[in-house]
Symmetry: C2
Amino acid sequence: MCMNQNETDKQTITIKDIARIAGVSHSTVSRSLNDSPLISERTKNRIKKIADDLNFAFNSSAQSLSTRRTGTIGIIYPELYDTFGNSLYMGLLVQGLRHGLEKASLDSIGSFPRNHYTAESNIRKLISRKKIDGLLVIHPEIPVDDWEFIRTSGIPFVVLHFKPRSFDYSWMNYLFTDHVTGGRMATKVLLDGGCRSILCLREDSDEIQFNERTEGYKIALQEAGIAYDPQLVVAGDCAFDFGFQAIMDRKNNLTSFDGIFAEADLVALGAIEALRELGVKVPDDIRVVGYDDTELGRYFRPKLTTVHQPREEHARLACERLIEMLDSRDMRPIMQKVIKPLMIYRESG
Amino acid sequence: MCMNQNETDKQTITIKDIARIAGVSHSTVSRSLNDSPLISERTKNRIKKIADDLNFAFNSSAQSLSTRRTGTIGIIYPELYDTFGNSLYMGLLVQGLRHGLEKASLDSIGSFPRNHYTAESNIRKLISRKKIDGLLVIHPEIPVDDWEFIRTSGIPFVVLHFKPRSFDYSWMNYLFTDHVTGGRMATKVLLDGGCRSILCLREDSDEIQFNERTEGYKIALQEAGIAYDPQLVVAGDCAFDFGFQAIMDRKNNLTSFDGIFAEADLVALGAIEALRELGVKVPDDIRVVGYDDTELGRYFRPKLTTVHQPREEHARLACERLIEMLDSRDMRPIMQKVIKPLMIYRESG
DNA sequence: AAAGTTCATGCAACCGTGTGCAAGGCATTT
DNA sequence: AAATGCCTTGCACACGGTTGCATGAACTTT
């Protein structure tokens, strides 16, 4: 009637079982399987063989309890789909981290900063309950007391991509992008193309990265001897529709600008679509430059000129540093990189 | 000179510490913090207070060792960026799972089926080392012996989205989409729009889902009394460029078809872009229907008519069933859903 | 042949928590 | 007053590993 629920349950075997079979103590088994030099080759091989035959695997909880190492890393990252742009951008970054950790045979627990239902801090939980050995943080909005908790916990961690707001990060290991330079480069491309009046479509938030991009925009203007006009900076969300609408809102006023710096690719694509519908030629009439180099920019026409951040490299470096910290227990902020972005010249800008 | 590396390390406190402070045995502390009815309210409150004051948190390894529950679930899913289309599609699904698990305060270890560097099976590792309580599988290519391992391990799991190939899944809990119906609906939209000769752009793989979509395409044709022409089925990868190139390859032959069923949104968008460049009007001259309802289709013009799979619902149901299995230990294949997709009518088809 | 080394292994404690069973205190019943 | 029962708590062992130290055997050295 009702299936015997243990029907398929494998008998779990432990090092003690192996010890019994091999006629040795369980310490010897433990040492053998961990390749301790204390044990003779002959015994080791015999025991490894037995373990193999029985498909033995260590119980990770027991091992963690004893060694104080879990072999898993927490990755704190935002919703991939709160804004669509995020998914395009973050995917590759998280992917890169997964690979970097895999290389060191580390597992990863992906987590939001806090539980959406209980509002409990996942960061705190993972650390204090000792579920993880280290932390990779990619998130614009870590609460100050979580930072404080991370700091006092002494757990190895690396911060990527988002500069912590309202919290001193001079003592952390981090890897950021120099968005001032990014914004400046993007704007300069437009200026070099002859633009004199550049619309800046930025995200309506206080995130440091967007402030920096706008800052770069201003610097480039200044360098070109063009007065900064606050009217030309428009804030919205990081979405296609914002770019589209921003242009449509100005359809009677299209001569008021000759270039567009969109601080996100998707916004740029929205703007381009609007321009196309209005019969404006990109880049002939108006030049457009995006930011982030999501895949999309490669596909749609005109192909998007944009600012690239080396995401795979970010991920690789972050993992390497974290693993180093795990091994050496040396938490000093040795890696504090602010990487220059790269301009990708395509058709739109 | 060199920082004292223990400077910030918090002294870990255990239930024994609390026991000592409270003047009770550690069993009493354990029972109190787990709200056992055996302990008097007065004692419980006193102990909870002390635990709170000390910021006590259970050591999860110790707890797992004792209870045989880790409170974490493995999610097996593919590269998000091997093909760009994947990232668009899978992101929301994985996101939904993360939310569903979070609701039950479960952590999740995201993993590829096997380690890219060591080729070791992550599925096996996670299960046999007892790192997880359950498994959510979203992957087209799980090796047969991994399925076998999952089966004999008796671990609770739910399969989503991809039907296992070359392995009987009648005993599993699963949630798939009826892609035959999806393909049929998509094709029917084109037929109803007056198309008589429909190009089918499919992925060049044996994945069941693509075979099913093509199958649905054939059925719809048959129902409309149109002979199936193998020449009209073209296989490539699931990318924008494939759709683009497929049309460009036929630019001298554009009258040979009047509709396009692309088995992935990105392919459809590529085709539409090519048609636009060739001066062909969509949908007036040629109708195009995509598949998957990635966000992209909402943005680009003409807006893409496409087949929607309710990904959030998939994720939610899968989590619910898994959690039920975790609690009840009842592994019977009670949930075997094949969900009908939904047609999204927009502009292109 | 006795003493000293080296090597391989076992003993026992420990990591932090859960839990069956026994025991003690106290109130109730006979 | 003794017997009974309930409520609360502690003891001791279990979970499955790791590791410092002691031990005994085999091998050198004097």
